[in-house]
């Protein structure tokens, strides 16, 4: 499975994602610039965290118009795995691959800490290695991570098991229904505010994010390599 990590101007977790995949998981991964317009030959694509275009206008609002985004949308429409963390999640909502929006944290502060999460849905290509309702800890680092959608959209997300991660114990940012990560209806596009790529090595104190990448690579082993 060949994975693309997109690099936008202002991305700052692209290296973390790349190294989590390459060094820790021994995956086939390449950086792809936002200038490029093709993802031919890739089996999955990841949008990293950071502050693309300085978060001007709204986080992700400018990045969604970069050259590479039509190729990302095309991959999503083909059912291939598309993953966005933090700013990547914001871009996925701005481009319309995921419903809702990420608004300013209720506390008006940038929050950087490790938070407890519940794996609400482990029946996705991104979470199959987790136990149902497993409690994990992942870092968050954002100022605009409060998930917002109208009631109808929230009800639809729940009805179709699209809520994948929920904040457990405390809600750090005011996200509606404690939502930390969602998939699209088809299940191949995951966006989440927490950073699994920052929790993949024991020496850094936390490996709870590792199963997300292992899940995806296992999915790739079955679907791509047969």
């Amino acid at each position: 499975m060949k994975i693309a990590v997109i690099v936008f101007p202002g991305s700052n977790c692209d290296v973390d994602l790349y190294e989590a995949l390459r060094t820790v998981c021994d995956a086939d991964v390449e950086y792809v610039s936002h200038h490029d317009s093709s993802l031919d030959g890739f089996d999955a694509v990841m949008l990293p965290g950071g502050f693309s275009y300085g978060d001007y206008l709204r986080p992700g609002a400018i990045a969604r118009f970069t050259n590479i985004m039509p190729a990302v949308v095309k991959m999503a429409n083909e059912g291939k795995p598309v993953f966005g963390t933090c700013n990547g999640f914001q871009i996925l909502t701005e481009v319309g691959l995921l419903p809702g929006a990420l608004k300013q944290n209720n506390q008006q502060r940038f929050i950087c800490k490790t938070v407890p999460l519940e794996v609400v849905n482990n029946q996705t290509m991104f979470t199959s290695q987790y136990q149902a309702h497993e409690r994990i800890q992942l870092p968050i680092a954002h100022a605009d991570g409060s998930y917002f959608a109208d009631q109808k959209t929230l009800d639809e997300l729940e009805a179709h098991h699209q809520v994948v991660f929920r904040y457990a114990e405390e809600n750090p940012n005011g996200s509606l229904r404690n939502i930390a990560g969602i998939v699209n209806r088809r299940g191949n596009v995951l966006g989440m505010m927490p950073h699994p790529e920052r929790a993949v090595e024991a020496i850094l104190g936390n490996t709870d994010g590792l199963k997300l990448f292992k899940s995806l690579l296992e999915h790739g082993r079955i679907t791509v390599e047969g």
Binding site: A61, E94, P99, A101, N105, Q107, Q108, F148, A149
Partner: protein, 83 residues
């Protein structure tokens, strides 16, 4: 040329963290009659002469880029009419 000021705010139903904080600060300063503060942003957009009516041009810009209709709404006023 026409200059249009486009205002973008959260929808009234969406919690505005900045507005709430500023309202609290105003209360602290004794402005207890303040019941709501709405924070937003504005864009002064200057448009060259064109056939498209300003209203339609503004609507397109709002739809395509300036407003996230999941959580925001907008209004506008024409500051300077075409001469």
């Amino acid at each position: 040329m026409t200059t249009v000021r486009i205002f973008v705010t959260y929808k009234p139903s969406v919690f505005d963290p900045q507005g709430s904080t500023i309202k609290d600060a105003l209360h602290t300063l004794g402005h207890n009659d303040v019941t709501n503060v709405q924070v937003g942003k504005f864009f002064d957009v200057t448009i060259d002469e064109q056939e498209e009516p300003v209203e339609e041009a503004v609507k397109k810009m709002a739809d395509q880029l300036l407003v996230n209709f999941n959580m925001e709404t907008y209004s506008y006023q024409v500051l300077e009419e075409a001469k």
